[in-house]
């Protein structure tokens, strides 16, 4: 019967199987909690009998997920907000910093791609600034901006600007001269050439840069929120660690993965719409 299934269905079946086997091994490998009577005095004092002290089994994580996702937007004070609210804050920060970066990186990348003088002049700065870990900017950002919220957005801005800038410049510089000549022989002005010929020609490379950037931004926001605190999925992870609630930690790790995947697939979709074959 399996032989008649399509390749995609076989792969999906295998994925489910791997998930079930993985969860089963995980569940089995968690030692059962001892009953309170069996604990020594020392174990009782250090919390050895607490169910939260061990790595939780998947059944508990699933229960937590159900509990959290059935009411994602509750707000019970600064240290107790629903997962939906936390993720919402993170996405808001990521998108704000990311869009600011795009607004600057794409026009600037265009300029660098069009002019080899601009490219040569700006290249040393890009090469020095690009490898800096975005979190290294955090102290400076906190000092200059004096606002933790804005500092987190700045960190996202600074980490997502480079792939977009470099890819835009690369894509624009690589537009085939024939296509530019087509624009020239049709007497298109500079702006019209930029929008009707160079932009669509470079779009696949530009969107690839945007896709890399959103991936990096989502990686960085978790770390940034652990530092600045207050709200966001990164803060949530750290807060649950402080509460020693490992079930919530594992659940939020999974949520970070799911949201990251959704963001990436959105750009995958955009990439397909601007793609062309020569």
């Amino acid at each position: 019967m399996i032989g008649t299934l399509s390749e995609n269905k076989k792969a999906a079946l295998l994925s489910v199987l791997i998930l079930l086997v993985g969860c089963f091994i995980w569940e089995m490998s968690i030692p059962a909690q001892k009953a309170v009577e069996e604990l020594t005095e020392y174990e009782r004092l250090t919390g050895g009998g607490q169910p939260k002290a061990g790595v939780p089994p998947p059944s508990q994580v699933l229960g937590k997920a159900w509990e959290q996702l059935s009411d994602p937007f509750y707000d019970a004070g600064p240290n107790d907000k629903g997962i939906g609210i936390q993720i919402g804050y993170s996405i808001y920060r990521v998108l704000t910093g990311y869009l600011l970066a795009a607004v600057i990186a794409i026009p600037l990348g265009f300029l660098i791609g069009m002019s080899s003088v601009a490219y040569k002049a700006l290249n040393p700065f890009i090469q020095v600034l690009r490898p800096i870990s975005p979190l290294a900017w955090m102290p400076l950002a906190l000092f200059v901006i004096q606002d933790s919220e804005m500092s987190a957005i700045f960190v996202i801005f600074i980490c997502s600007i480079w792939p977009m800038l470099i890819n835009t410049a690369f894509g624009v510089a690589g537009v085939r001269e024939d296509w530019v000549n087509v624009a020239r022989t049709h007497e298109l002005g500079a702006l019209k050439t930029a929008f009707t010929v160079i932009l669509p020609a470079a779009a696949p490379t530009i969107v690839t840069g945007m896709r890399i950037s959103i991936g990096i931004a989502w990686l960085v926001i978790v770390a940034a929120e652990m530092l600045v605190g207050g709200t966001g999925i990164g803060y949530y992870v750290w807060n649950e660690w402080n509460n020693l609630d490992l079930t919530s930690v594992i659940f939020s790790i999974l949520m970070i993965g799911v949201v990251g995947m959704l963001l990436d697939s959105m750009f995958g979709l955009l990439q397909r719409t601007v793609a062309y074959t020569e």
Partner: protein, 300 residues
């Protein structure tokens, strides 16, 4: 010739040769093209045909010399001079139709959308592209169909001068034949002035009113202007029967095979160096009897 529709005067192109000196591709090239004329230029690789084409298109600047069209100096690209590039140069993210409307919109900015589309589809139909094919992207079209789109784009713009840079260079012989026929058809409908680069002698005889012959580079010259004394309409199967066909063909083969190398490097001096007009017509005994015996030897 000073009053010709298109006049090329003492065009010279030099590049630095990398050792501090200069490398002359061609010098003092001067010729004229009349309105409605179809002129081909033949020569070996490296004689600067494509450079002349780019200068006429306004995509390159000559080292010295001028190009005048309708008495006006040509500088920079213009919609008055349409170009069909060897590699088609279609925009791959647009459909065949949109590639043509792209040009038409630029040429006739006042037209409304329906008129632009109608005009474009008419010209696509003239080169045999109708129905579904015009809504496909270039990557979904064969090489021949892509070049048809490119030709339709150029003709739809109704430029004063049409420049064709080896338009059939990348096509197989059968496709090339079909598109040559279509090109003749569109050209005779529109009365367009055409300047075309080719490597193919038979193609040049079939299409052209006049063939310009270039000597080998460096220091290439436009040495001769050969009139094609075969009446139109021509078609590829009948044209070979015409008594002048092989006389002209032999002259061209002889030039490209031998004389282009012999004449190469002879500086034409600084004056207006006009190509020598060659008229070969064995049906008319009064003119140029020299190639006639060659013809009989071949035909016999």
């Amino acid at each position: 010739m000073a009053n010709a529709f298109l006049s090329i005067e003492q065009l010279t192109q030099r590049y630095p040769d990398g050792n501090g000196g200069e490398f002359t591709v061609f010098e003092n090239a001067s010729f004229g093209i009349e309105k409605g004329e179809f002129v081909c230029i033949l020569g070996h690789s490296g004689c600067g045909k494509s450079t002349i084409m780019n200068i006429l298109a306004g995509l390159a600047e000559p080292t010295s010399g001028v190009v005048k069209m309708d008495g006006q100096h040509v500088s920079g690209p213009s919609l008055d001079r349409g170009v069909v590039f060897q590699n088609y140069s279609l925009l791959p993210w647009l459909t065949a139709l949109k590639n043509v409307t792209f040009g038409v919109q630029a040429r006739f900015p006042d037209w409304d959308k329906a008129k632009v589309i109608e005009h474009s589809t008419t010209f696509l139909a003239k080169v045999g592209l109708t129905g579904d094919a015009i809504h496909r992207k270039p990557s979904q079209l064969s090489g021949g169909m892509r070049q048809r789109v490119s030709i339709a784009r150029a003709f739809a713009n109704e430029p004063k001068l049409l420049l064709l840079d080896e338009p059939f260079g990348a096509l197989d012989a059968l496709t090339r034949g079909t598109i040559q026929d279509e090109l003749i058809k569109v050209w005779s409908d529109t009365d367009q002035t055409v300047f075309m680069i080719t490597h193919d002698i038979d193609e040049a005889i079939l299409l052209a009113d006049r063939i310009l012959l270039m000597t080998n580079g460096p220091n290439a010259q436009v040495a001769e202007s050969v009139e094609i004394t075969i009446p139109r309409p021509r078609n590829r199967t009948d044209i070979v029967e015409h008594p002048n066909y092989y006389a002209i063909r032999n002259h061209l083969v002889h030039f490209l095979g031998q004389r282009s190398a012999e004449l190469s490097g002879q500086s034409g001096g600084s004056g207006m160096h006009q190509p020598k007009t060659v008229r070969i017509d064995v049906t008319d005994e009064a003119d140029d009897p020299e190639p006639a015996p060659v013809l009989r030897a071949v035909e016999g």
